[in-house]
C-alpha cells in the first residue's frame, strides 16, 4: 500500500449553526508533499471556513453541520486530540497581531511546545531551530508588540513551525504586509514547501503569490470550487476583473473587450477656486514621538486643488505620521503645517476636520452608532451644523455611496465593504473638501477595492484626495501625483510617471515594482501617462 497523502478533502460541505446557507459546498481536493496550493477567491467565498474544517476548529470551536470528510495521512483528524492535530497541521491566521500571544519573541515561538509539556532543553532547541530557519534569531529577545508587520508574521510562522507540522495552512498571510515583506514571507513559504511540507495558502493577492510558482491553484466562488489546476489555467477561467492577474495577461484579454470608460476624476474641484492656492502646506516639518527619536525630518510640500496624491512607501516609513500632521492629530515639533492658511497649532482637530476628512484604515475603529443615519450625522453635529443642514448632508452622502436603503440599519451589521463606504460617507457628510485615506484597499478583495476606488474618485464634493498605500498599482492607476516616503523623508514628489520610472529609487525605498508599472513604462512613449491595464490594451 502506498503512503496516504498528507491531506485529502472529500465532498466537504459545511453550514454554520446560526446561518441558513452553507458556507462551503462539495469541496474535494488533495495536497501533495512539497506543494503550494493557492486558494483564491473573493471575500466571503468560504476560504476561511475551509481552513477551519482542516485544522479542527470546526467542529471543535465553531459548531454546525458537516458532511463529507477531511483525511490527514488517511485518518480523520476530528478524532485526534488537540495535541496531535497541532503537531501535524500548523495554521497561521490572518492578523499576526491577534495570534501572537507571548510578550517576548522567544516565549511566542515556544508557546505551543510549552503547552505540549516538553522538557525545557528541547523547547529551546526547537524554538531556536525554527527562528534560525526563518532567519529571525536576532529577534529572539525582542518584545513582540514593537515588531514590524513583516517581523510579526515571521514570528507567528516560527511559532507554528516549532511544532514541526507537515501541513501548513496560511490564511491571507500577506494581508497586513507591504510588498517587500510579502515577498520575503512568500520566499520562506516556498522554501518550506521545497523541504517537503504541504502548504495550503489562502490569498487574494494572486499576482504576488505567482512569483513563487505555486504548483496548483484552487479558485472558489460562493463556497464552491470553480477551478482547480495549474496556475496558467486560472487566467482562462476567471474574469480579469475578479482576480488580479499579471498586467500583460489582462492586456491580452482586455484587447477583445470594448475599452473602459474614462473616469471623471474629482468632479468637485472645478469652480471651487484658483488652483494656485495651497489647501495644505507643510513648512520644514519635523516630528518625533519620543524626545530623542525623530521620525519625520524636514517635510516641505503643498497640496493643491485637483491633486490626487498617493503617498507611497514601506511600512514604518512615516506615512501615517506625516498624514496625521495634516489633520492636526499630531503637531510638528518644529516647522509648521497650514490648513487653509491657518496654522494647525492654533486650530483644534474639529476645526480642521471641516476642511480635511481623514478615513482610517479599518472602519470598525470608528463605527459606533445604532443606525447608519446617526453615524453619518455624528461629524456634522460635532461641527455644530444646523439640523436642516445635517439632514441634507446625510442624505446626499448616503446617495453618493449608494447606501440609501441602509439608512436605518446598524452599521456594525453591514459587510466590510459597506462599512468602508459608511466611513467615507461619514467624512462626506462633514463637507470636508479634502479626503485623506489610510490604506483604502486594505481588507478588501481586488474587485471590491477597484470599484471602491473608482467610485470615490468620481464623488462630487472633494477638491483633492490623498491616500496612503503600499500598492504601487494604486498610485499608477489613480494618482496624478506620487509622494515617495522612506525613513521619515520625502524621497520624491511628482507625476506618477516621473517618480515611478526611477526603479533604483523605488528599490532603495523598499517599494516593489509591479507588472502593471512595467507595462506602463514600456508604453510610456505612446501614452505619455500611466493608465490601468484595461486601457493599455487599447493603446496602439
Amino acid at each position: 500500500m502506498t503512503n496516504p497523502l498528507p491531506l485529502v478533502v472529500e465532498n466537504l460541505t459545511f453550514r454554520y449553526r446560526d446561518r441558513q446557507e452553507t458556507a462551503i459546498r462539495d469541496i474535494s481536493f488533495s495536497a501533495n508533499p512539497g506543494e503550494i496550493l493557492l486558494v483564491a477567491g473573493a471575500s466571503g467565498c468560504g476560504k476561511t471556513t475551509l481552513i477551519r474544517c482542516i485544522n479542527g476548529l470546526i467542529p471543535r470551536s465553531y459548531k454546525g453541520e458537516v458532511t463529507g470528510r477531511v483525511l490527514v495521512y488517511g485518518e480523520e483528524p476530528q478524532t485526534w486530540p488537540l495535541s496531535r492535530i497541532s503537531q501535524k497541521i500548523g495554521t497561521v491566521l490572518q492578523d499576526p497581531e491577534r495570534q501572537i500571544l507571548g510578550t517576548k519573541v522567544l516565549n511566542e515561538v515556544a508557546f505551543g511546545l510549552e503547552n505540549l509539556g516538553l522538557p525545557r532543553a528541547e523547547i529551546y532547541q526547537r524554538a531556536d531551530d525554527a527562528m534560525r530557519f526563518l532567519n529571525i534569531l536576532h529577534l529572539r529577545e525582542r518584545e513582540t508588540f514593537n515588531l514590524s508587520g513583516g517581523e510579526k508574521q515571521k514570528v507567528a510562522l516560527a511559532g507554528v513551525l516549532a511544532m514541526r507540522p507537515s501541513i501548513l495552512l496560511l490564511d491571507e498571510p500577506l494581508a497586513s504586509l507591504d510588498p517587500a515583506s510579502a515577498l520575503e514571507t512568500l520566499s520562506m513559504v516556498r522554501m518550506l514547501a521545497d523541504e517537503g511540507m504541504s502548504v495550503v495558502m489562502i490569498e487574494h493577492r494572486v499576482e504576488d503569490v505567482m512569483k513563487v510558482n505555486p504548483e496548483r491553484v484552487m479558485f472558489m466562488t460562493e463556497g464552491e470550487v470553480r477551478y482547480l489546476g495549474p496556475l496558467d489555467g486560472l487566467s482562462k477561467v476567471v474574469n480579469y476583473h475578479e482576480v488580479k492577474l499579471p498586467a500583460e495577461v489582462i492586456i491580452a484579454r482586455a484587447a477583445q473587450d470594448p475599452p473602459p470608460v474614462e473616469i471623471d476624476v474629482l468632479p468637485g474641484r472645478a469652480g471651487a477656486g484658483p488652483e494656485s492656492e495651497p489647501l495644505v502646506r507643510f513648512e520644514d516639518v519635523a516630528f518625533g514621538y519620543d524626545r530623542d527619536v525623530e521620525v519625520l525630518h524636514g517635510i516641505n510640500l503643498d497640496i493643491r486643488r485637483g491633486d490626487v496624491v498617493a503617498v507611497l512607501g514601506p511600512n514604518g516609513a512615516g506615512k501615517t505620521t506625516f498624514v496625521k500632521h495634516a489633520i492636526g492629530l499630531l503637531k510638528p515639533k518644529s516647522g509648521r503645517v497650514l490648513v487653509n492658511g491657518q496654522d494647525t497649532k492654533d486650530a483644534s482637530v474639529a476645526e480642521i476636520a471641516s476642511t480635511l476628512g481623514y478615513v482610517f484604515q479599518s472602519p470598525s475603529h470608528m463605527l459606533f452608532a445604532q443606525t447608519v443615519y446617526d453615524e453619518l450625522a455624528f461629524g456634522p453635529k460635532n461641527l455644530k451644523h444646523s439640523p436642516e443642514e445635517i439632514e441634507k448632508e446625510v442624505k446626499e452622502a448616503l446617495e453618493t455611496v449608494n447606501l440609501e436603503e441602509r439608512e436605518q440599519d446598524p452599521p456594525l451589521a453591514l459587510s466590510f465593504g459597506q462599512q468602508k463606504r459608511v466611513s467615507i460617507a461619514a467624512i462626506l457628510a462633514m463637507r470636508s473638501r479634502i479626503l485623506v485615506m489610510d490604506e483604502p484597499t486594505a481588507g478588501q478583495d481586488y474587485q471590491n477595492y477597484m470599484s471602491f476606488m473608482d467610485s470615490i474618485l468620481q464623488m462630487p464634493g472633494f477638491e483633492s484626495i490623498l491616500f496612503i498605500t503600499h500598492d504601487v498599482d494604486m498610485a499608477v492607476i489613480y494618482a496624478n501625483r506620487v509622494i515617495l516616503v522612506a525613513n521619515g523623508r520625502i524621497e520624491a514628489d511628482g507625476k506618477p510617471h516621473e517618480v515611478l520610472s526611477d526603479l533604483d529609487l523605488l528599490k532603495a525605498c523598499r517599494v516593489v515594482p509591479t507588472t502593471l508599472l512595467a507595462a506602463n513604462l514600456e508604453r510610456l512613449p505612446l501614452t505619455g501617462r500611466f493608465m490601468r491595464a484595461e486601457a493599455l490594451a487599447h493603446v496602439s
Binding site: N107, V349, A353, M366
Partner: protein, 290 residues
Amino acid sequence: MLVTWRYRKRRSLIQWFDPRAWIIFYSCFLFATLFFWDVRFLVPLMLIAIVVLLTSGIKWHEIRRAFLFIGAFVFFFAFLTFLTGRGGMEVYDEEHLIRSLQAPFTIFGWQPTLEVTVERSFFALSQLVRVFSIAVMTILIPYSLNPSYYGVTFRGLGLPDKIAYAMDLTMRFIPTFGRDFQLTMDAQRARGYELEKIRGGLIEQVRKLGPLMVPVIIHAIIGSEDIIDAMDLRAFGIGPRTWLQELHYELKDRLLIAFGILMLVGALVIVFMGYGGFWVPESLIRMAGG
C-alpha cells in the same frame, strides 16, 4: 510608540530579588500597612517604601506622570478628610479643638466653618502616610517586574496554569488595547469629537463616551475570537505545561520572604496586643487645652 512598557532592566533593589519573592514581600507590606493607623508604626513602613523607591533606578521623568497623578489623588483625599472630618469618626470619639476657622461670608445663610482639631489633623496625616507608602510600592511594580515573567511568577506562587497564563496574556494585550484605543480616539477626533467638551450628568457623560467605547469594545471582542483560536491551535490547556523561564529562589530571596513574613506577623502581634490604632501625641492634646 504610543504605548510602551515601563519595565526596563535596571540596577535596582527590586530587580535583585526573584519576582515571586518580591510579590510575597509586597503582599506582606501591604497588609502590615493596612493594620495600622498609628503614625509611629506607619513611618518605618514608609521609610521602607522610600528606600525601595530611591534604589529603584527609575528616572524621575519616567515616573513623573504616575506620581503626579497618584500624588494629587492622595493629597486630595487626605485634604478632604481634613476638611470634613469624615472617615476618622470610627477611630476616635473625642476631638480637641485647636482653632475654629469661620468663613467671612455666608452661603444661603450657612457660614462655612472649619474645625481644626488635633484628631482630624493627625488622622489626615496618618491617612497620607499610609496611602503614600502603598502607592509607592505599587507604582514601582510595573516599572520593575519583567512583563514576560508575570505568568511564571504567579505559576510559581501556586496559581493554576490557565490563570497564570491569563496574567501573561493580559500583559501581552494591554499595549494592543491601548493602540486600538488611540486609533479610535484619533478617528473620532477627526470627526470633530472632543472628549474635553463632554458635559452633563453621569448618564449623559457615559452616553457621550459611546463613540470611543463601542468601537474599542467591539474590537476587543472580535479580537478575542482570534486569540482563542490561536491558543487552541497550539494546544493550550491540554495538560500541565512547561514554563520556559525558570525561577530559582536564592538565599537573599528567602531572607526577603522571611523579613516580609516577620513584618506581617509582628504587625499582627502588635495589633492583637492592642497597639497600632489611631494615635495622637499627648502634648498636642494638652496644647489644645485638653
